[in-house]
């Protein structure tokens, strides 16, 4: 067992059993937090100083991250080792059961003991941590971008509001500190030195009600290119004008190997299905290119697309908020610009195809 400043981190596994990227980021966040809690000089931590409040100090100690894996931990060991996790606890509860998972975390956190419990702010992570907060009576800070010990020993956190359009500086009381990590808070980074990871089986003491809710998974997997992982997204907003206007966006998305995404007004009007919505209440995208057409750029929308590598706006209004978030903009009506763009791409491809045909027809 590890020391009193252990940070317990929930690890979600990818389909191949390795660690999901969101959890690699959570492990990185947890390692920074553990180092801060163990730091002999809290003033050196990156958090802003604050007046000490008696009785709110976070437990100090040796530091370190312990991982919790719900399922078969063996496949996760290489990555856990790379991320400096010496102790991993494997909890086998036969699939997703949020309250039972939280009961396991509560037991582990008490036994270690843990100074903090951290999970990625996914649907599973948020749900399990909320259960942990409810069953322990402790506060829980959702979607944190940083957490570190302040000058007075209190835990200073920065968390997202409005899906990241606003940040909140706050002090999180209670031990263990319960934190979920915002999706884009930290980049995943392996530890300076890998650890020899020991896996311990952990059997939680469940209460009767803990398994009332458990998921069965349907065998169906979503087909096609997913909005969340598409390399190119062609976005359409109110400027598309109506449900009949999306053909040109579909054509362009097809030419670019991408998918169509839409703003909230489009789904609220019933022009397109909600699964195509990009935004705070829809899907978060992170494509190489986001071509936002006829979209004003409300914060509800931008919260879903700011992770795009490049944003190009097509909008009639040069003062639209989207223009101040985009890297490039074309000022104009999408119903004129997009058909011309499609024609230009087709002409260019035709020319390339012709050149290839020529080359094939005239060997040596």
């Amino acid at each position: 067992m590890t020391g009193p400043a252990t940070v317990l981190c929930v690890v979600e596994q990818a389909d191949d059993g390795g660690i999901a990227d969101v959890s690699l980021r959570a492990l990185t966040f947890a390692r920074h937090l553990a180092a801060s809690l163990a730091s002999p000089d809290p003033a050196a931590s990156p958090a802003s100083p604050s007046v000490a409040q008696p009785g709110q100090a976070v437990a100090g100690g040796a530091g370190g991250v312990a991982a919790v894996v719900f399922g078969d931990a063996a496949a996760a060991v290489p990555a856990l080792s790379e991320y400096g996790v010496a102790d991993a606890y494997a909890v086998e509860l036969g699939g997703y059961a949020p309250q039972a998972w939280a009961r396991a975390l509560a037991g582990l956190a008490a036994e270690l003991p843990a100074a903090a419990v951290v999970a990625a702010g996914t649907d599973h992570g948020s749900e399990v941590m909320a259960h942990l907060g409810a069953m322990t009576g402790l506060p829980m800070a959702a979607n944190c971008v940083s957490a570190a010990r302040g000058a007075g020993g209190e835990l200073q956190i920065v968390r997202q509001r409005w899906a990241g359009s606003l940040l909140e500086d706050a002090v999180l009381e209670g031990s263990p500190a319960l934190v979920t990590v915002a999706a884009d808070a930290v980049a995943a980074a392996a530890a300076g030195e890998p650890a020899a990871t020991a896996v311990h089986a952990y059997q939680p003491a469940l209460e009767a009600a803990d398994l009332r809710v458990r998921a069965t998974e349907s065998a169906e997997r979503s087909a096609g290119v997913s909005l969340a992982t598409a390399r190119v997204v062609v976005g359409g907003g109110r400027g598309v004008g109506g449900p009949e206007g999306f053909g040109v966006l579909e054509d362009l998305a097809g030419l670019l190997g991408g998918v169509v995404g839409v703003s909230r007004v489009v789904t609220s009007e019933g022009w397109r299905p909600h699964r195509q919505q990009v935004g705070q209440t829809g899907t978060r995208i992170s494509p190489e290119l986001y071509l936002a057409c006829g979209i004003s750029g409300a914060i509800q929308h931008m919260a879903g697309c700011l992770s795009s590598k490049h944003i190009v706006a097509v909008n009639t209004d040069p003062e639209a908020p989207i223009v101040s978030h985009a890297d490039y903009a074309v000022i104009g009506d999408l119903n004129q610009v997009l058909p011309a763009l499609i024609a230009a791409i087709r002409a260019r491809r035709g020319a390339v195809d012709d050149a290839v045909d020529d080359a094939v027809q005239k060997p040596g």
Binding site: P98, T122, E127, T136, G137, L166, A215, A298, V330
Partner: protein
Amino acid sequence: MEIAVCVKRVPMVGGRIVLTADGQDVDTRMSGFTVSPHEECAVEEAVRIVEARGGSVTVLTLGPAAAADQLRDMLALGATRAVLLETDGREWGPIATAEAIVAALRGSTATGDRAVSAAGGPGAGDSAAVPGLAPGDPAATFPAPLPYDLLLFGNEAADTGDYQVPVRVAHALGLPCVTGIKHLEVADSRARARREYRGTEEIFDIPLPAVISVKEGINLPRYPSLPGRLRAKRAAIDRHEPAWHADGLRKERLRVPAGESKRAEILGTGPEAVPALVALLDELGVLS
């Protein structure tokens, strides 16, 4: 089927968020307010269930007196009655919010109300006071029967995004809870709730009564009818004044993330910009 739906009044922030001078709140002097989007869908879902199966929909909010506007909007959508847990405008944390909701759902007053009662304010004369409930306390499963079969919430509020009020309410009431639901079927004593997680559909079969939080997309909320709006305008709203207390997450200040504002390079105007756009797409490697 008796359904209660909890909603939150949030600012309509539009293109950018402006903060008050002290950095404690969003400046709402220039914005309207709305019901947080997931929660509007929760009300629509409740109304559809009751239309199909009979029963009633109680919509409940914790917020300032002006939050009565949002309750009336939800009455216009088809909710049967409305309850306002009126605050003095201070922000409530998720623990205190859940406690106030639990007390209200039990059809009784929270501990804080007794202070109000003593002062002769609203809540005076309520006799069925329930002791304050420590969240997570197993003893919180108070024997008073819950007058609801289903409690619906939004998955998270648009503004504070705490992701926990429904779960805390479920624990205090000893009820099963599922969150983030995008498809719901309700039978007499059970519900089947579905959501997608990382490309896989998860299905939850749970007994009622239960707490279920939903996400936008579960349905497309209707536009209120004119008779609905007229009825909502006249409807009485049940008011309580729960007492605020601090949560364990103490807000120090809000700030807008740095580096938000940049200015796009204008490639051109109208179709004349297409050659420059094609060159850019080529440079980004998305034309191959």
